[in-house]
Amino acid sequence: MQSWQGYSKIKDVDQAVAEACAHFPEQPQLVFFFSESERFPAFTRALGQKFAGAQVIGASSFVSFSPAGASEYGLQVAALTGLQLATGVLRDISTYPLKYKGAVTAALQTLAPSRLTAANTCCFILNAAGSNGEELVLDTLAEALEGTAIPVCGGSASSPAILQGQVSLNGQVLEDSTVFAFLHLPQGRIHIQQENIFTPLGKEFTVTRADVVNRIIYELDGHKAADVLSRALKLAPSELPAAAALHPVGRVDGDSLFVSEIKSVNQDGSITTYCRTFNQTRLAVLKLADIAAVQARTLAAVHQQLAQVDFSLVVNCYSRTCMYQKLGIINAFARDLQGSLGNYLGLTSYGEQYHTFQCSLTMLIVSLGAAKI
């Protein structure tokens, strides 16, 4: 597998595309790109035209990452060859993506499903943000991929204006949609690494009243969720909204932790999160861990799994990006990724998806490379 990477901050879209793709091959198989949302439709068109024979997948990103650094403005693009892929679109993701399940199974069929394993294939998704539809997409993919071991991973597009992330496929911006791409390396290995910079505080509660669809938790252990959380954090209820960013909640599933950021603390004592929560599930209150140590472990884990990393897609949560900006470590973060992963393209996401879970405050690294013998 081979990858090329480019970026441009030139204002003119065509010139920016020309600059960023200057060293790209004529006929790449797959082009990924991220840009700020204003010029995203124009980049979609331009790249779609330029690489008409390739699959061109893009998402708007509040901050994009690449070996060139982290940037709020500009085009970050990568071209790949030497892999097998199949792409498609799920539409109406805010209400009924299941209707398009056939698009997933059809795409899968083009790849000789029997050879697809969790180690050599993934289903990478990019969602238009703002619809709360990610979980319906994950449900749809779970149903469509039932019986396969193919892991799903990806993120929701972002923009500075909350929840207006856009996605595109082959020159078309798609509303209320998810672009999916099955990436398959017949000879190689694909590894997905999830990073949580949060760790349980040691306080867990049962969700006793929740609105699953609207992602609202009304009660934990039979008491108002906001009261329970503020007690757990030893805070006055009025201090909870400010503290919520540093204390997300997480769904505990065996050893795994699926982080869910608190979106709002509501007047009625409920909390709205970025992820769906079912009643009777256990939620843990989380606290920030040592970011640097966690990151070192994450990157080491990627290399533990792969003999060689050719290219990586990174999905980093919006709130993490904001936190890293505030801490002044955003460029160091981009550099660290480059130092460890080499060629990579990074998206700031409004929610990360891994397996059947929608998470937040998480980073996913999808690395394509060679397996260890």
Partner: protein, 851 residues
């Protein structure tokens, strides 16, 4: 789950019977809401399709359509103008009442009255027009708003299959708005509860949706029979028949070619609409096209709507009306013509109308149901206590759902709560009924049952019932907190359970009290003592936990278990002495003692009121001069039936139940009265000692009260006896109180010195004026040793310059010895027994006083 109120409501009659869940075809349309005492089921309009099935389904009349008739009549009375739209079913169901009610409403100010049957004719014409444009179309009829709502919300695959033609009501509303130019707000009257939803789809001005029954209920006081009105617009064809089961078919086949079929399909009668694919395949079955699939909501059409009460009573009216309409058509000249001519006539009738006005579109309101992760479902099952496959398939329907799985899903989505599973609730109730919630071992109720069963199962076995009390448990709670106390209770419970496992029973019956029933064997008692002692050491307490065990040997297993517990408890109460593990077996004397105490307790108040208690005085003499120098007041009880009762028989009980306070006060009162009388008689007084109980010593006003009581006496004549044990309670406060009493002139005596609690420290710190030695405690069996001890005490008291009174002196030798060692004031049988006041007065008179 936030509940959005809608047109179907749950009123206060709801008792949470769950029946509505059983009849409702829509998961999540009914939401269980906790009420504190139980739950009720509310309607979530976001999911409800207003089918109304739960209205007759609820046997508690808790489900109803929101009644808007009050507001309508009020607005009408206030002069607001409305036009009415009458459901075609009304003419069929209420043929008799309808014209009168309409007359009354018109009198109130209703301007126009339109019968939706006219909309029925329009709808037939619009459908015909559609089929002329699409001769091979196969569609689903969109005339029932419930079915449209259902498809829009739950079966989006069927949306393209819906006939894009307005329903009769919509056609009427369109006609009235566009062609009659009537801009007045419309009021729908009819049995359908879903009309609001239907008109929301277009730009219509629908003010109210009323049912005729609710309206008639409001008009109960009105004589509407005095009015009459016809409608302004109504069907000229078969429009009225849209209200009956096969009405669509009857209307359309009158005008359509014979190969056009209207197929009736079951809709909401079961719990679920049939699989949409069934309808889809029916529609795509080319052989029957053109086709209109009529999915019906009610079995017999709109006349069967759930909002109509006692509708069967109205069937006769319906049959008559339908017959009338049909015969009217049969007698029409066009009946003889073929369908084409009839269709042409209909088209001519509406020639001036634009068919496009009567088309409609549909909205996709579907939301894909969130997929429930398997682990969440598993956790819910476990939380419901359903840990085995069989328990997950009980499917008793008690919760309102057909299966346990459905219920578990409802819990996950927040539609229902675990507590509403009947089996869960029963198990919980059983647990609460039979288990001590803190320790998890049986409670008293369960103990009684299980012990009975034990006796039944092993009739030959001899048993012992053990009553276990953790003696210093309160101290654990006070010093280490309730959590530590709870830990100890749990540990003891665990031990009790382990000891009785398989061979006996146990329970925590209250606080720190446990009962165990075990085979009466030599090994069991030591085993209990050993186990309980060994396993409480781990609690890192600064003192050992001590246990009192009362044991009752069960001789008659038929005896009530409560009695056995009482006996063991009685044995436990008799245990005295210091800590560790102590035990006592029950014997008959204990019962006797208990009965005695019960009698004393029962009689004491009456005795006080009737002055059965009498003051006796035991004189005190100076053994050197043999002169009377004082006395101690003692109580005697003369009971009218039982005669003289000794203080040993009642004082311990009085001390237990605190009656001693009243008794002491009574005695002091009497003594002061006596002394005042003697003083008045000119008798030379000697000091008299009276008791002050421990509890009184902490009453702030005590010195003042005593001063008032002894106001007529020289205060030093009243000596107050304080026991040495009072010092242990609150030494500092006691010392202050003694000083205050002394400041009032009273003499304070330390009573019973040497009775067991003595400490030299007490003597040193309690600022008493006199010490009383009780010879009964101090003279043991080893006379020589006792004499040495007495001598030492006396020497010490002399050095402290504390006067001494020796009581309990019975012989001259004792008196001589005491005098020799410095204790010369003697009280006891040697000189005199306690005597009635009169006798003592005589002594006073005879002897004079020594100061």
């Amino acid at each position: 789950m936030k509940i959005k109120p809608g047109f179907i409501d749950t009123n206060k009659n709801c008792n949470g019977c769950n029946k509505c869940l059983t009849v409702c075809p829509i998961p999540g349309a009914n939401i269980s809401v906790g009420t504190g005492e139980g739950h009720r089921i509310e309607v979530n309009s976001e999911r409800c399709v207003t089918c109304g099935l739960c209205i007759p389904g609820c046997q508690n009349q808790a489900r109803e359509a929101v009644d808007q008739s009050g507001s309508f009549l009020a607005e009408l009375a206030a002069g607001k103008k409305f036009s009415l739209a009458l459901d075609p079913a009304l003419k069929l169901l209420y043929a008799e009442e309808l014209p009168y009610v309409l007359g009354y409403l018109r009198a109130l100010g209703v301007e126009k009255i339109y019968d939706i049957s006219f909309g029925g004719d329009l709808c037939t014409w619009a459908t015909l027009t559609y089929y002329q444009e699409h001769p091979e179309a196969s569609k689903i009829a969109s005339f029932c708003p419930i079915i449209v709502d259902l498809i829009e919300k739950y079966y989006p695959e069927l949306l393209p299959e819906l006939l894009p033609v307005q329903s009769p009501f919509m056609c009427l509303a369109t006609y009235v708005k566009n062609y009659v130019q009537d801009k007045r707000p419309l009021v729908y009257i009819g049995p359908c509860l879903s009309k609001r939803e239907e008109l929301a789809a277009g730009d219509f001005n629908l003010a109210y949706t009323l049912t005729l029954d609710k309206l008639l209920l409001r008009l109960q006081q009105v004589d509407w029979h005095a009015y009459w009105s016809e409608v302004d617009l109504r069907s000229e064809d078969l429009g009225y028949l849209y209200g009956i089961r096969d009405g669509i078919n009857e209307n359309l086949s009158y005008f359509m070619p014979p190969h056009f079929s209207v197929l009736l399909a079951s809709g909401l009668e079961g719990r679920r609409i049939a699989n949409p694919n069934v309808y889809k395949s029916a529609l795509t079955c080319g052989k029957v096209a053109p086709l209109l699939l009529n999915i019906r909501s009610g079995h017999s059409g709109c006349i069967d709507a759930p909002s109509i009460p006692d509708k069967e009573k109205r069937w006769t009216s319906v049959f008559a009306a339908v017959k009338g309409i049909r015969s009217h058509i049969l007698t029409r000249p066009d009946y003889k013509e073929n369908y084409q001519i009839r269709a042409e006539l209909l088209a001519a009738r509406f020639a001036k109308l634009n068919p496009a006005d009567f088309k409609r579109s549909f909205t996709n309101r579907y939301y894909q149901e969130p997929r429930l992760p398997a682990d969440v479902l598993e956790k819910i099952f476990i939380a419901m206590g359903k840990t085995t496959p069989a328990s997950r398939k009980i499917n008793c329907g008690g919760c309102g759902y057909a299966t346990c799985g459905e219920m578990a899903r409802a819990v996950a989505y927040g539609y229902n709560q675990i507590e509403n599973c009947i089996h869960y609730a029963t198990a919980k109730t059983r647990q609460i009924t039979y288990t001590d919630m803190l320790t998890g071992i049986p409670n008293l109720y369960a103990f009684k049952q299980q012990t009975r069963d034990l006796f039944w199962d092993y009739p030959e076995q001899k048993y012992v019932l053990v009553y276990l009390d953790i003696k210093n448990f309160r101290m654990v709670n006070d010093l280490y907190g309730f959590a530590a106390g709870d830990q100890i209770l749990k540990a003891v419970a665990e031990q009790a359970a382990a000891m009785t496992s398989g061979k006996g029973t146990c329970a925590r019956i209250m606080s720190d009290h446990f009962v165990l029933c075990l085979p009466d064997s030599k090994e069991n008692l030591p085993k209990i003592l050993h186990h309980i002692r060994a396993n409480t050491k781990e609690f890192k307490l600064d003192f050992p936990i001590s246990f009192d065990l009362g044991l009752y040997r069960i001789t008659d297993t038929e005896e009530p278990i409560e009695n056995m517990i009482d006996m063991a408890r009685l044995a436990q109460l008799t245990i005295k002495g210091s800590y560790d593990v102590r035990w006592a077996y029950y014997d008959e004397a204990m019962s006797e003692q208990m009965r005695r105490e019960a009698w004393v307790t029962k009689e004491m108040r009456r005795a006080l009121a009737e002055e059965q208690f009498q003051v006796y005085l035991q004189p005190q003499y100076d053994h050197r001069t043999h002169k009377l120098v004082g006395a101690e007041a003692l109580v005697r009880w003369y009971h009218p039936q039982r005669g003289l009762i000794g203080p040993d028989e009642f004082i311990p009980t009085f001390e237990k139940n605190n009656f001693i306070l009243e008794m002491d006060a009574y005695m002091r009162n009497k003594v002061c009265q006596l002394m005042a009388a003697w003083q008045a008689q000119g008798l030379p007084l000697v000091p008299v000692s009276v008791n002050l109980s421990r509890l009184e010593l902490f009453e702030e006003t005590l010195p003042e009260r005593l001063s008032t009581l002894a106001a007529k006496l020289p205060p030093q004549m009243l000596r107050l006896e304080v026991t040495e044990s009072a010092y242990t309670d609150n030494p500092a406060q006691l010392v202050t109180m003694i000083k205050r009493l002394q400041a009032k002139g009273f003499v304070v005596e330390m009573d019973d010195f040497g009775s067991g609690y003595s400490s030299l420290n007490t003597l040193h710190e309690m600022p008493v004026d006199v010490v009383k030695l009780d010879l009964r405690f101090l003279m043991g069996t080893h006379h020589e040793k006792s004499r040495v001890i007495l001598q030492a005490i006396a020497g010490m008291l002399q050095q402290l310059q504390l006067p001494v009174i020796a009581e309990g002196v019975e012989t001259l030798a004792q008196a001589d010895f005491l005098t020799k060692i410095g204790c010369h004031v003697i009280q006891g049988y040697y000189y005199a027994k306690p005597m009635p006041a009169e006798q003592f007065a005589a002594l006073l008179k005879a002897q004079g006083t020594v100061r």
